[in-house]
Subunit: 368 residues, 2 copies
Amino acid sequence: MIELNVALGERSYPILIGRGLLGDCEPLQRLAAGRQVAIVTDSNVATLHGPAIRQLLAGHAAALIEVVMPAGEAHKTFDSLNLIFDALLESRFDRGALLVAVGGGVVGDMAGFAAAVYQRGIDFVQVPTTLLAQVDSSVGGKTGINHPLGKNMIGAFHQPRLVLIDVDTLMTLPERELSAGLAEVIKHGAIADAAYFDGIERDMPALRARDARALIDAVARSCEIKASVVERDEREGGLRAILNFGHTFGHAIEAGLGYGEWLHGEAVGAGMVMAADLSHRLGLIDAGILKRLQSLVVAAGLPMRGPAWPSTRYVELMSVDKKAERGTPRFVLLERLGGARVQRVPDEPLLATLAACTSVSTSVTPSA
Amino acid sequence: MIELNVALGERSYPILIGRGLLGDCEPLQRLAAGRQVAIVTDSNVATLHGPAIRQLLAGHAAALIEVVMPAGEAHKTFDSLNLIFDALLESRFDRGALLVAVGGGVVGDMAGFAAAVYQRGIDFVQVPTTLLAQVDSSVGGKTGINHPLGKNMIGAFHQPRLVLIDVDTLMTLPERELSAGLAEVIKHGAIADAAYFDGIERDMPALRARDARALIDAVARSCEIKASVVERDEREGGLRAILNFGHTFGHAIEAGLGYGEWLHGEAVGAGMVMAADLSHRLGLIDAGILKRLQSLVVAAGLPMRGPAWPSTRYVELMSVDKKAERGTPRFVLLERLGGARVQRVPDEPLLATLAACTSVSTSVTPSA
């Protein structure tokens, strides 16, 4: 088992990464001891991992309930959130209660937001069961729900007390979701660590074959990078925005298609290629790096082009992005392999990128 | 103008108290300068004070919108909250936006919560226009909405950047709401400052006659007391709970009658008498202090008895109180005039208090 620490003063917490942790994890049992505990999961995950997590906590928690939400990004709404509030209040859970989020990013974001605002804040634990959640959303304390006019528009910064990552949960993950998680892995290499990017290129076949060692290494390095950025900028004052590489385009794709049509990681895959293309047009990176990123996105099984909408539609969708200032979107650009920055961009190269990186088909089948 | 400061490190903020501030307040204009600003108010307050606050901000804000919510505690729901989110998103308000809450506690709590979670947190200003909000809810950063199973169950701690208190707004306040605000004034004296309690007894006729000097003095002293408690316990780890004197009983009354039937301050008025009665039964205060509190509650125009429900109903309603631990409510008790503490209470004196302090009529007409 690998143990990392996210150093945020009194809000610091450990990340545990390994195999078989859902069956044997004393730190979680200790945290749950004698408390009211609510497992929050979704209809898919409840079947796969519900029994294991219940068995892990039974006999330790003073009271144990399970809240099962409808699965999917389309349900990342206040109505789903309210299912959690209803269950907690019906069971008289108080401010000392602990919420354990078991599932992908949607479950983690919603359960984390529920914990952030239930009785003005209770403790929670992240048990991410998708690669995307393991390498990205479970670490850093961003929580929230969607609004019809924008993704994650309603939310809070609320750090978990513990993140528990069992890579065995990835063995049952659908192929498409594994690829979606690899988008964030690629992202971490691209924005922060060229040597890691090299390693991802080398290990991509092993990662897609779900080699446990390759998965643990990638999850651990990605969590380290994410934790390091979050430690320096917990509330996204500046630096943290580089984690949104590929996300300004990606969010536009998700919002335009309707949440859930493409997976978040798929939109980020195409979005990273678009952001790298834009970086190249602005003279920040050479064509070789753009090509390597394109190839790695394709090798991960991800789409490398966005839907073929008019550029005005992309611009419109991007103007409500959270990084926007007064409706003008800012972009995370690569300044080299392993380094990124955030800036506004002139219209001309942006329109050229939108023309070059969008395709007639909106299928998620990679074009390679 | 009196200026107080709430000292919370990087979350510190000033409280400005005086007359005519809605017409002339340079600190608010400076804070709003060049920003997207949303005035949030309700249908009653918009008519009374909307024009003044719009005029104050026009020409300073880069963009100015007004969100008018339905008035009343019954509307302190997610649906009302969503009106704010819809308006902010439709106007493309970004993370640099400023929200200005103008109204009573319901508006302040909801607008504050909207600011706490819109794009994971934006700045806001409290402009309380009821006495209750001026002496209590606008200071301290508690925000939230109600749930059918409990009051303020969903919320956040989110400090305002500025609190602007213009006592001229109290001149149009309905009599009943003025009395409701006096409940919290009495509370501050009872739990924290015996000399202030003496002063409230002396000034009660002037306060009810809306003498501006008496109102400014009471608002300022109450804000000082509240700020001092909040400074020592921002997130209600312990001490801050004493501000809930009268509230465990009061919340039960509000929840049992349906929110909005009694005003919050009315429920707190009866709740304080019940809590003082309980304190007396437990031997903490003598009958003279109990009598003085009862008389002051009556002099303020507040009910001194709760509805005549069976004690089991009160106990049931109190078990979901946020101060409850595993369903066992804790009570804020007076240990002397000007001092309070929080503790659990045996059944016998609690049942005796419930029998002694509830009446057949649920009318809010004071029984004296």
